[in-house]
């Protein structure tokens, strides 16, 4: 467990965060009371299937949810003691890209096709660090070099279409690291890439955050990535964090039926091949018609009567290990 010394408050403290979207069919609660801490230098993974609210959570941290249709309905996001949800537009812009940076999930479309790479890598630096002229160029060159772009000086003038997907993603990482932020939020940073490139990039990302003691929030649906890179894991289901534990604890002893199901549905090299993969039965719930009680109960093999009535609150089951489930399951 990598819990920070108790005296030091968390770098980012998210409490009871909720996000709603209004759609033609009605209101959808995408994030429903999410709470977690992120400490300095920590790598935190937010895991869950598509639509579970992990990206919405990430966007809400920087108030990037498009309004309308989205809305942050309650909660607080304290960054070094300041609530970002109550900050002015000016204050939040000074944090974005500067103290908290995002690396987006679509390497092919997250760079502006009509602006040169240098211009885009340099933009946050110009904005937040007031760098200009030769200083700016030197810093951009150094950044591209640090993410292993060859001949960085020459490539500054190139446009994104001359870069491969992997290279673009490395440029995105360079952009994110540019202002030496305290936190990087990486939303599925490798989904659109080859497996070998994925590994390279995650290695790169880890190396970067370790060098500068940057906290990293890794949003992914890939449990393999989580096992390898994360210190802590938050498992999300239907807008809530259902289990939170250190990566080691989570793999050794998952306690929530959903986490157990997820782990059983992933092939693992450290398990005998005789173990067949167990899919989680059923479908994720319809966001417009959430089941009463625990959202997972219709798919849960361990469900009891109470699960259909009352949503379980998070309870502590081990050191730094929280589970939102009524049943005591031993994975």
């Amino acid at each position: 467990m990598t819990a920070a010394p108790a005296a030091e408050p968390a770098l980012l403290r998210v409490r009871d965060l909720a996000v709603e979207f209004s759609t033609a069919e009605g209101r959808v609660t995408a994030v429903d009371g999410v709470s977690f801490d992120l400490n300095e230098g920590e790598i935190l993974a937010l895991v869950g299937e598509s639509g579970c609210g992990k990206s919405a959570t990430a966007l809400a941290l920087l108030r990037l949810i498009a309004e309308p249709p989205g809305r942050i309905t309650r909660g607080s996001v304290e960054f070094r003691g300041h609530d970002l949800l109550r900050a002015s537009a000016q204050e939040i812009r000074e944090i974005r890209g500067n103290r908290i940076a995002m690396v987006f999930q679509e390497p092919m479309t997250s760079l502006n096709p009509v602006l040169s790479i240098g211009r885009q890598v340099g933009e946050p630096l110009r904005l937040h660090k007031a760098l200009d002229g030769a200083d700016l160029v030197e810093r951009c060159v150094a950044l591209l070099e640090s993410v292993s772009i060859s001949e960085p000086r020459r490539r500054l003038a190139d446009f994104p279409h001359r870069f491969s997907g992997g290279m673009r993603q490395r440029v995105m990482i360079a952009m994110g690291m540019g202002c030496a932020p305290d936190i990087i939020i990486a939303d599925e940073p490798t989904t659109a890439l080859d497996v070998t490139i994925q590994a390279q990039l995650l290695e790169l990302l880890r190396e970067q955050v370790q060098r500068y003691r940057t906290a990293l929030m890794l949003i992914t649906h890939n449990l393999g990535v989580v096992a390898r890179y994360a210190d802590r894991v938050n498992v999300m289901y239907a807008g809530r964090i259902v289990e939170s534990a250190s990566a080691d604890d989570l793999y050794a002893g998952p306690r929530h039926p959903y986490t157990i199901g997820l782990l059983q549905s992933v092939p693992r090299l450290d398990r005998p091949a005789a173990n067949r993969l167990q899919p989680i039965r059923g479908q994720p719930p319809d966001a417009l018609a959430m089941p009463a009680g625990c959202a997972f109960h219709p798919r849960c093999p361990f469900a009891v009567a109470r699960c259909a009535v009352e949503a379980p609150a998070s309870r502590r089951v081990g050191e730094g290990h929280d589970v939102a489930c009524w049943v005591d399951v031993d994975g």
């Binding site: 990037l64 812009r93 974005r96 760079l111 096709p113 602006l115 003038a157 952009m175």
Partner: protein, 296 residues
């Protein structure tokens, strides 16, 4: 590192890549050549026109084409070739000037409408709807008539109508572009909405506008000719193709070139702009965007 930089060949800029793509398009190349020739003709009119286009020779009215007057003379004895050459000045100036004004106005309003959304968008788009209820030529004629004769009033009335098309094109593009991940990434970098709009959204919306601009120049030249033909545009003694066409009409049997020459000029220049527009459209096709503007 630095010695590598020194031997790197200069990369072509985006604009020169587009130019190359246009030059690969045969019709667009012809269009571009014709347009450049017309521009040269307009600019060099005082040097290449054989006569002063305003000089009347009342002893030689309505003379047929001859070695002295290649196109013949008009009803006041003025050299028709010289007047046709000078007419290019009015047409091109009008075409380019009024299109530039319409584009500036349309792009600004369309960008604001698309980017701000909400009631701003609603208001601007309802105004364009209202303008688009009128047939273009009737609108331009009516406003020119209300403003009084004169070329600057035709420019004004063309702009008043012409911006609506550009505003619609830009707004549609903005609605597409503003949802793209790189705009979200720009917001996540802490850029102000103003800067995102100008530095990130605007440049990505311009490709269809460039195409529309070339075609609109052709349309504007046509509109000016039409308005001048009906007597509302340039006033005598200035030569304009539309007006020459109109006056020449009366003397069609005596001096056919009086009408035919300016008519041919209008046709040529409008076709040239349309060809160029086609070529630009192919060169800037968004489907080729990801691969860059040039692809073999």
């Amino acid at each position: 590192m630095t010695d590598i930089v020194a031997i790197v060949p200069v990369r072509p800029s985006g604009a020169s890549l587009v130019l190359r793509a246009v030059l690969r398009h045969r019709l667009a190349t012809y269009g571009l050549i014709v347009i450049l020739l017309f521009c040269a003709m307009a600019a060099l009119a005082p040097w290449i026109a054989p006569y002063n286009p305003y000089e009347q020779d009342l002893y030689a009215v309505l003379s047929a084409p001859s070695a002295a007057h290649w196109f013949g003379t008009d009803n006041l004895g003025r050299d028709l070739l010289s007047r046709t050459i000078y007419g290019a000045r009015v047409s091109l100036l009008f075409g380019i000037g009024s299109t530039a004004l319409s584009t500036a106005l349309g792009v600004a309003l369309g960008l604001i409408a698309g980017f701000r959304g909400g009631w701003v968008d609603g208001l601007i788009m309802r105004v364009t709807d209202a303008f688009l209820c009128f047939p273009p030529l009737i609108f331009i004629l009516a406003t020119s008539a209300a403003l009084g004769p004169g070329l600057h009033n035709v420019v004004l009335s063309f702009t008043l109508f012409g911006w609506t098309g550009f505003a619609r094109i830009i707004r549609g593009q903005v609605l597409l572009v503003r949802e793209l991940p790189y705009i979200e990434a720009a917001r996540a970098s802490g850029l102000t909405p103003h800067r995102i709009m100008l530095a990130h959204v605007l440049p990505n919306t311009l490709a269809p506008v460039i195409v529309a601009v070339t075609i609109t120049v052709g349309l504007a030249i046509l509109a000016e000719s039409g308005v001048s033909f009906l007597g509302l545009g340039v006033q005598p003694p200035t030569a304009s193709w539309g007006k020459e066409l109109r006056v020449g009409f009366t003397y069609l049997e005596a001096v056919p070139l009086f009408s035919i020459a300016p008519g041919l000029m209008i046709t040529l220049v409008v076709i040239a702009f349309n060809f160029l527009g086609d070529g630009l459209r192919d060169a800037l096709d968004p489907r080729l965007k990801g691969a860059g503007p040039v692809r073999k």
